[in-house]
């Protein structure tokens, strides 16, 4: 059995999360806020699929808590969503790597949809509700962003020799 190749240059993972956090709180017009892709969730999905040995549910939970602190949400709101997403990713990562780009985008839509569902549920607890299925719009734009994001990150991973691509 071959050894798991050691992942190096993990600072790059941290850098991508910092950039994603900045993009997720960048001020947008109120009409456009529903169209913002869930950058941090996309990165959690990406790193869990491509570095499942290093990036597990604990790290996903921590990243979620950091996003909660930075964005001013209730503590645990995003973290709970990321735990669910990370769990689903860990269950399905070997299948996912064999999918074609549009199949991957569809699966990403479902995963980000789950995260949006938990966030919407917590908002309901607070008395705020989204109309109809509007809360799934960020999942849709995230799925559209997935193929180019995946291609770019794979190139960076190959360059920095981060994971076994």
């Amino acid at each position: 059995m071959s050894q798991i190749p050691r992942a190096r240059n993990l600072w790059f993972v941290g850098l991508t999360f910092v950039l994603a956090l900045i993009a997720s709180i960048y001020p947008l017009e109120p009409e456009n806020r529903w169209l913002r892709p869930q950058f941090v969730c996309l990165l959690v999905i990406y790193w869990t699929f491509y570095l499942p040995e290093r990036f597990g549910m604990g790290w996903a939970c921590l990243v979620g808590l950091v996003q909660d602190f930075v964005s001013g949400f209730w503590l645990g709101q995003t973290a709970m969503g990321f735990l669910l997403v990370s769990y689903l990713c860990l269950l399905s990562y070997s299948r996912f790597r064999n999918y074609v780009w549009w199949q991957q985008a569809g699966w990403v839509f479902v995963l980000v949809g789950f995260q949006q569902l938990t966030v919407n549920w917590v908002n309901h607890l607070n008395g705020r509700s989204a109309e109809g299925l509007l809360f799934l719009l960020p999942a849709f734009t995230s799925a559209l962003l997935w193929p180019p994001l995946c291609a770019w990150l794979s190139r960076c991973c190959r360059r920095y020799r981060i994971a076994n691509h």
């Binding site: 900045i22 960048y26 602190f69 001013g72 503590l75 645990g76 709101q77 908002n123 607890l125 705020r128």
Partner: protein
Amino acid sequence: MLTLILVHSYTNWLDPVSTRVGSLAKPFYWVTNIPQRMSEWGNDTFTTRNQLLAENKSLRKEVLVLQGKLQTMASLGAENVRLRQLLNSADMVDTNVLVAELVGVSPDPLVHTVVVNKGANHGVYEGQPLLDATGLMGQVIQVMPNYCRVLLITDSTHALPVQINRNGVRAIADGVGTLYELHLRHVSNTTDIREGDLLVSSGLGGRFPVGYPVATVTSVLRDPGQSFASVIARPKAQLNRSRHVLLVFGEKPVLP
């Protein structure tokens, strides 16, 4: 994780934690503010002399007009104090204000909060009202050392006691989750309220000072079949566009 959410939402045990760790969000807001600061610097540095002269002239005119209006304010204020003494009611408290700047907004479209660059180190306290040049904007909900988070009046969990400027009729203005609408709850069909009425804060509840403009009534629908009239008002504050805001120092509210 579920326990954490429920504890944070229904108790205030985690407030010290979220205050301390919330400071770590400051560098992120500083970075997202960079384009705005660069465009302001560009506007200031690359204007022509003629533009500056014209702006100077119009600002001087505006100051003159406002000073003229202030002259009558002094006598009105004195008359107000005399009338209140006649009625044996409490004196109006002088208000101090602190100028602040908006540095961030909540990324979630359902949550109407903004981040302002003044915090506990500048004397900001929880429950403090926030205004802009045209009206009331909201109240401070979370105070960090160097910045604070403000809940806007249009958030769907916020309600504000108001009164109609024309006749003093009191109502509660509820936020509904859009930036351009407030709904007045439980206004009976026979209440004297019309389109175009100015709503000001009534000061009841001790949170917001009296007399600050809140909204203008845009529609009044009286349906005899409904128990209450449906009144919609548009906030006067530029909730979407204001960058410079004022934090008002009144009496600190007594928190439970």
